[in-house]
Symmetry: C2
Subunit: 148 residues, 2 copies
């Protein structure tokens, strides 16, 4: 019986992973139409305003060192700039360039068409949202506890 339960958890993990994969694929497809890689697109998408690398890492659910890598490329493309942080000389503020702002808008526009999860009704989405939040907050992995 306990066997069956753990089997169910395993299957559930597989489904979460598969859906995450689908989402990534969708972002990657949209990104390529703008000559961006998937990781670059994710960074651009999450850059809703000026923020530090650390904050962007949190939003991207990845390590700060990874943000350094991706932002390097975005900077090379003149889409993002690293500016000194107003209150903390260690930190840097990532800000979109004019060009970056435009590309980001194009990206957001393409991201909404044929997006995964569109098949779910608004109610189902809300349900899924709640379950995910609960799962994440109850998860015994305290690496990055979710806000709120």
């Amino acid at each position: 019986m306990a066997k069956v339960r753990s089997e169910a958890v395993r299957e559930l993990c597989g489904l979460v992973n598969e859906l995450a994969q689908r989402i990534s694929d969708h972002v990657g497809t949209c990104a390529s139409t703008l000559d961006l890689t998937e990781a670059q697109a994710v960074a651009l998408r999450e850059l809703t305003g000026p923020m530090t690398s650390r904050e962007l890492a949190r939003r991207m659910s990845c390590e700060p060192s990874n943000v350094t890598y991706v932002v390097d490329r975005l900077a090379r493309l003149d889409l993002v700039e690293r500016q000194p942080h107003p209150h903390d000389r260690r930190a840097k503020q990532l800000v979109l360039t004019e060009c970056g702002t435009k590309v980001r808008e194009d990206l957001l526009a393409t991201l909404v068409v044929d997006s995964p999860l569109e098949g779910l009704t608004a109610g189902e989405q809300r349900q899924l949202h709640d379950l995910l939040v609960r799962a994440i907050n109850d998860s015994p992995n305290p690496k990055t506890r979710t806000r709120q």
Copy 2:
């Protein structure tokens, strides 16, 4: 209003990604106690019996070329063997070695302790399961349509 809706979808994608990340972290932690990497552990876990590379790729939600890479390492560790497929000379059958079988059992045992999603009740898990299946099957990304 449509703006708000797409915003909700975005947040939902973020949550899916974050949960997937938590799950990966857990597997990685368990793997390291057995001197395995996370990817190796996932492959070992999904190798429920003899199967082709393609089948394993499907179970791991990754590309077959990736399986080649990971299985190379597992073979180097003498955990998995590539045997000729009985009916198709193109294909290879991946089978656990004696040692691999043992390591896999140890892995499965460690995977069940402190697993994410444990915080959810059985009912919630079932609910989540159904929502995920629906989301995946309705997803407009037809790369790997789920069975059943």
